[in-house]
């Protein structure tokens, strides 16, 4: 039996008075790529925001390495080793590439050595970034920005990386590259929780997937199982005819 790194148990989450997640449970095994898929408004991003402490669940538990994450402030959750790459990348566009990366290690700046080590690690993963360290992040192309966003999240040396729609708004070849990068990261031993709308490719690379629909957990399973399931095709892809 594989070790559970993160498990979410029967959570209900609200946005103001609107319930966004209804009694959802899922877990992420150590070293796996787990995907949350579903249409807009299905509650995927809400789930990630819940884990990173911005929108704590009203009821239910979030366990990470066996300890509860409920009601911890976002900075403490980063310290525990969970990094969240938000939808739309949200880089500091006026800051340089290097400054963006440095801020990724904001909470571990107590040791300059660790920062340097993280930087080297990120540059080893993404050599392209090293050529552009003094360029403002806003001047990078879409794909480079996404890579920088992932690199920034890697700076805190996370165990669990949460990616929210990393392929959003990227050209098709770059999308492929992004999925390659995600598999590469897994090979480095990083556990990945992936939220995506690019269903086919997501299912291809992930070990396990959960399908959310309007805040409910609709189905779950291994990628190929889901793809073969006519029910999945019908409800998710929406190609009823």
């Amino acid at each position: 039996m594989e070790k559970k790194l993160l498990s979410v148990e029967n959570v209900n989450v609200f946005y103001g008075d609107a319930q966004a997640i209804w009694d959802v449970s899922f877990h992420v095994n150590q070293g796996a790529i787990v995907a949350l898929i579903g249409a807009n408004g299905a509650g995927k991003s809400t789930a990630l925001n819940m884990i990173s402490g911005f929108n704590p669940p009203a009821t239910g538990r979030i366990l990470y390495e066996g300890k509860s994450l409920n009601n911890l402030p976002p900075e403490e959750i980063v310290n525990r080793g969970i990094s969240h790459v938000p939808e739309g990348r949200r880089l500091f566009k006026r800051l340089t590439v290097l400054e963006n990366l440095e801020l990724g290690a904001f909470n571990s700046t107590d040791s300059r050595k660790r920062m340097k080590q993280s930087l080297e690690e990120v540059f080893r993963l993404f050599p392209k970034l090293e050529d552009r360290i003094n360029q403002p992040a806003g001047t990078l192309s879409g794909g480079e920005q996404q890579i920088l966003a992932i690199g920034r999240a890697m700076m805190s040396q996370p165990k669990l990386l949460m990616l929210d729609e990393p392929s959003l708004g990227l050209a098709p070849q770059i999308v492929e590259l992004m999925f390659d990068i995600i598999t590469q990261l897994r090979e480095k031993g990083i556990t990945i929780l992936l939220v995506e709308q690019n269903v086919y490719q997501t299912l291809r690379i992930s070990d396990y997937a959960y399908v959310l629909q309007t805040g409910h957990l609709k189905m779950e399973g291994r990628g190929e199982e889901l793809l073969a399931d006519p029910d999945f095709q019908k409800t998710f892809l929406g190609m009823v005819y």
Binding site: L91, L103, F106
Partner: protein
Amino acid sequence: MVTISSLDVFIQVIINGTLYGCIYGLAAIGLSLIFGSMQIIFIAQGAMMVLASYFTYWFFTLTSIDPLLCFILLLPVFYALGAIIYRVCFKRVARAGKNPTLLLAFGIMVLFERAMALLWSPDTRSVTTDYTTMSLSLGNINISYIRLLVFVIGIAATIIVFLFLKKTMWGKAVRGSSEDPHAAALLGISPVKVATLTFAIGISLAGVAGVAVAMSYPFDPYFGFIFSLKALVAVAIGGMGSVGGAFIGGVLLGLFESLGSYLISSGWADAISYAIFLIVLIFFPEGLFGRSAKKV
């Protein structure tokens, strides 16, 4: 002969304007920092300045501490004052949106002004040291040492703030946070800590500007408001949220005013700066230096 002397006067006007503008610039940097990261228009900045002026006056008359020393003595005091004002007042209102924060800043301004008027009477005060009247003479042009000093301190403060924002982790966090507070929080940067820090620095700068005012001009408790407005004008000229732009904006404003008073009449100086303010607001909402200045 006539033309030469009027040229001298003209140069003198420009130099005085520049030096005067430095004080606007100092106040404007603080305002710009606070606005840039919290979208708060801290209109009480001038009242904070005058408070520093009173402290300087107080120290000087009671203990004959040299005003120059006040630059250093008052820094921690104003730093703490800024942090307290943020934590006690603004933190809870920040969520309510822009208008309440502006009103709150207004309230703080009135409160401080009235308190100062009560404590130190509404009379005009001034600090006169041994070197107040000394000046550097270059031909027919005189530059008072104090103004020169203010100029140097203005430049130094700008550079220090600039370096802080550019080189330190916290400085980078302030810049990042002002661009996207949510993204910064995702990286573990606490928005409250960043806001407190920014506020504290902004008010410290008001403190520095206030000491400078005490040394170079007579002041009264209500003197600050006009400085708040002028600092805002400077920020608008330089582009909201830009440190370098705010300082340059202040210097430019000083120049405009000084030239305006020389060429038209001194009574119109205020109207000129407000007119510039309105024109910039309406036609250059990004400030005169536009996007490029916004980088820092």
